[in-house]
Symmetry: C2
Subunit: 233 residues, 2 copies
Amino acid sequence: MDVAGVIRRCSLFERLSDEEVADLTSSTRIRELDAGEVLFVQGEPADWVYLVATGQLRLSKITSDGEQVIVSFVVAEQLFAVVAAMQRTTYPVTAEALVNSTLLEWGRGDLGELFTRHPHIAFEAVQVVSGRMRQLQERFRDLATLPVSQRLARALLQLGEQTGRRDESGDGRVHLELSLTRQDLAELTGTTLYTASRVLSKWDASGIIEAGRRSIVLVDLERLDREATGDAE
Amino acid sequence: MDVAGVIRRCSLFERLSDEEVADLTSSTRIRELDAGEVLFVQGEPADWVYLVATGQLRLSKITSDGEQVIVSFVVAEQLFAVVAAMQRTTYPVTAEALVNSTLLEWGRGDLGELFTRHPHIAFEAVQVVSGRMRQLQERFRDLATLPVSQRLARALLQLGEQTGRRDESGDGRVHLELSLTRQDLAELTGTTLYTASRVLSKWDASGIIEAGRRSIVLVDLERLDREATGDAE
DNA sequence: CGAAGCGTTGAAAATAATCAAGTCATGTGG
DNA sequence: CCACATGACTTGATTATTTTCAACGCTTCG
């Protein structure tokens, strides 16, 4: 597997020199996950930092009474768990593979060293974290102020941006590359499986999306956008 | 005013040497705000970093149709707007003074220089940001999974931790030092002014809190805690 | 004193959750 | 290859929660 190539494609590392990449590569371990396998659990000591080579993970937070909330998804080329590891605390979320996935893995020390040698990387890491902070703030606002259908529409559009693949058929159809159940979508938008299912069924019936088993295709982006802004009909 | 003293009491700067504090002090500007005055508006270029000397500010995010969500409050000794300024982007929230307040203010450049000269400060800044990230994740989870009354109870307890002053009368009464309206509380917990008012009235009637005009006293922490965990009655 | 802001409360309506009972795929072991 | 178990998904009926709307009381301040 082309470890150096994967590292290169991660935005955080794109400005590293060849030797630096070689350095990182030498301390890399490869970790394979099966679909459904749990990488780490909320509350565990954060000793490792990960970069997704292929596949998809779900980062979720669990409440004391077992309910889940999805904080985000991570897909290929994304680094995660950096902050927890640098802070020497515990993972704040649980990470579970949605599909078979391959990860690159570094010990906290290896990466910490890199950060002190290359302050600009640490600086960019702050950028990345604060970008996620902004995103979470926006989702928080949506959750507090919008009805379920608008939240779902926004979530679909956002997932389309993050992981969508355009249909080769020319029309604007966008396939979400994430393998999500209705339950996942519900946990992402703060609703129930049932409500999410109803909304998707309605949109499927009216041709806005194609909702299948663990698959969603955005068909009419413009109408979905209207659903997202509340300008529907 | 004792600028150096204020700087010293901010956790981020506590490890600075005397000269360094003197350095910072020399580039400090003082900014006075009246109650209700807006410091900056969401979307403005983030050119300044602030430290609260006295008073309280509310950081909120506004939706396109005018609804607000409160992201957090900042009180004395807290630094804010650091990330936005370091990122050279725009402020992600609007900052408004709840009461008359005094702030210390630095230009982006002054502080950036300090960060590059003292990497450990930058590192601690990351800690602070990720702590806030965790907190927001938790509020997100609460918003998604808990009923209004539990969210309110948690918010009150958290505000008690952040800004509470113990009653001198010996009982465990905790006065929230923040001057909050029902509307503020509603925007903090993602509900409406009316629902928040009803819940507080009920708790006031049953002696859990004392809810006044822009003032709240936590009277029976234990029962409030039960409300927060859903173990009420 | 009067106006404006803050707070309360009731009644009606809307939204979403819950419960229950299915259908439809998918894959597995006999 | 088929039966069957399982997980994903759907849908209707009911219920609970919360919002909305409306009206009014109490302070505070100019």
